[in-house]
């Protein structure tokens, strides 16, 4: 897939006809949807209406947006006006939002063409995309394997070449892990960098919208469009957008890169380790300085994450009650309207997390579980702050293994949760992190390398990510 910038240049210059490009692309979407189950809906009408508007703009020589003519696929937990936003859940099967998420408004304002909604784990709960009411998404590199989750459909849309850019959301690794498994770039921005207005909430202190893209440059472009303060999301921050293209010109010479030893322990696959070590050697040759560091509480991150995420989920998902929107099941009275609706509407993993979340918040257990987890989260956050006094960026694997087989972990929730071991800490600490593909293992499956920076330093991720991408070729 060519870079978003090159594609935009060719479209804006008239070298590619918008009509024939989108006619072919929308039929390719149909075929990819059938082969990989990566899309919940193809937004034909919206795409063709946008194309007409862009053609008029071109004819009249009006200014062209930064995403002029570029296709984008959007995860199905981000509200797109007048199209179903299902969260891959039966409970929202018929929900059609009457408004656009802020990120959608920003894409449209920059002349992007939204072509489809992406399949996902139900309510973004999962690491394999097997928890979708639409059925599992298949990894295009090996259709017997999972694409990762929960933004599996977005990752596959990019990996299959439908689009150079897609939007996902990342609560504990849901952009980075599927990016790693599908061989694409995935960024979880700093907590607060991107407005979540119109993102269906899962765990509000952790959720972030982020780009998946065919290369670092395209991810940086999409990030620069969606990032920034929004008065409709009080957790969004005033931030300054750097000149990322200039950052990406810089070498890694003189940068101090931390290698946290807890990320290179026994659970790490040998081929991923070898591949990362080879990349480190190349970066040293280019003048990067590597420093061994420690984040000693990493081993507690998964436990901390699942207590906090599930607690917040149990609260956030209380809104699905059959009253205002979404499914209302047959019932005899008010209580059975709630319980029947939630019984029929939610899948097993969502119920499991609501149950655990309810447990850790219930009287008598709150201090032992939720409060304890919040205290450990404090420690984890401080450890990251301390390590960034010594290094500019951390380099780790994104995942302990490459993509596993469909069904391999679906009967063992704990085993599934442990596949997020390298990604959840960034969400707990609120720091930005990006996965960049660095090669393939012996089964020809993509390997991802993760870079993690301090709050609001996405610039260093793009700078180092660009170097990693170049060296991996």
């Amino acid at each position: 897939m060519e870079s978003a910038l090159e594609l935009r240049r060719r479209i804006a210059a008239g070298e590619i006809s918008l009509d024939s490009y989108y006619e072919a692309l929308l039929s390719e979407c149909e075929s990819a949807k059938a082969r990989f189950n990566c899309l919940t809906a193809i937004t034909n009408q919206l795409a063709m209406a946008t194309v007409e508007r862009l053609k008029t703009n071109m004819k009249n020589d009006r200014p062209k947006g930064r995403l002029f003519g570029l296709p984008v696929v959007v995860k199905d937990n981000i509200c797109l006006r007048d199209y179903p936003t299902t969260c891959a859940s039966k409970i929202l099967e018929n929900f059609v939002p009457p408004y656009d998420a802020t990120v959608i408004g920003r894409l449209i304002a920059e002349d992007a063409v939204i072509i489809a909604k992406a399949n996902m784990d139900e309510f973004a709960m999962g690491s394999s995309n097997e928890n979708s009411a639409f059925g599992p998404v298949l990894n295009p590199h090996d259709i017997t394997r999972i694409p990762g989750g929960s933004s599996g459909g977005s990752a596959v849309a990019v990996a299959a070449g439908l689009t150079p850019m897609a939007l996902g959301s990342d609560t504990g690794g849901s952009v980075r892990q599927p990016a790693a498994h599908c061989g694409v770039v995935g960024l979880k921005p700093t907590y607060g960098a991107v407005s979540r207005y119109g993102l269906v909430a899962y765990a509000s202190s952790l959720d972030q919208i982020g780009p998946l893209a065919c290369d670092v440059e395209s991810a940086a472009l999409l990030y620069s469009v969606i990032a920034g303060h929004d008065e409709r999301d009080s957790t969004s921050a005033e931030i300054s957008i750097c000149d990322y293209p200039a950052e990406m010109q810089k070498s890694v010479k003189g940068l101090r890169i931390g290698l946290p030893r807890e990320y290179f322990g026994d659970g790490l696959d040998g081929e991923i380790r070898t591949s990362i070590e080879a990349m480190i050697a190349q970066m040293k040759f280019e003048g990067a300085e590597f420093v061994d560091v420690s984040l000693p509480h990493t081993e507690y991150a998964i436990a901390t994450y699942y207590i906090i995420a599930d607690a917040e989920a149990s609260s956030n998902l209380a809104r699905y009650d059959g009253v205002k929107y979404g499914l209302r099941a047959k019932n005899d009275d008010l209580l059975s309207m709630y319980t029947n609706t939630r019984h029929e509407g939610f899948g097993a993993e969502v119920k499991r997390r609501i149950m655990l979340g309810t447990y850790v918040l219930s009287a008598g257990y709150y201090d032992a579980y939720y409060q304890k987890a919040m205290n450990v989260r404090s420690i984890l956050k401080r450890e990251f702050a301390d390590v960034y006094k010594v290094v500019d960026v951390l380099l780790t694997p994104t995942t302990p293994t490459t993509a596993f087989k469909i069904g391999e972990k679906s009967n063992d929730p704990l085993e599934m949760y442990l596949s997020d071991i390298y990604t959840v800490s960034a969400n707990l600490a609120g720091v930005p992190a990006m996965s960049v593909p660095i090669g393939r293992d012996g089964k020809n499956l993509p390997i991802g390398l993760q870079l993690t920076a301090k709050h609001f330093d996405e610039a260093v991720l793009f700078r180092v990510g660009k170097a990693v991408e170049r060296l991996a070729k």
């Binding site: 309810t358 404090s378 420690i379």
Partner: protein
Amino acid sequence: MISREELLKLAALARLRLDESEIGQFQHDIAEMLEYVKTLEQVDTSGIEPLSPALDSGNVLREDLVKPSLPVDEALKNAPERVDNYLKVPKVVDN
């Protein structure tokens, strides 16, 4: 395993109805997770302040101004049942 009784109490709190098969499965899964998260007991958190907000921006205030909002029909178009400008629900108060 957590007891069947305890599990059903949780389900009631969460307004979830569970199938027999789900009850057995969740008794096992939730017990396994609770066992796993017990590792946090090893962490000394004495003197640790619970997490401050991820953004230290303090409270976010705005003027209370009337602005255009969704028309009622738009806002209610997803309602499972509607009467005039209201959501219709089963009877809430007993006679």
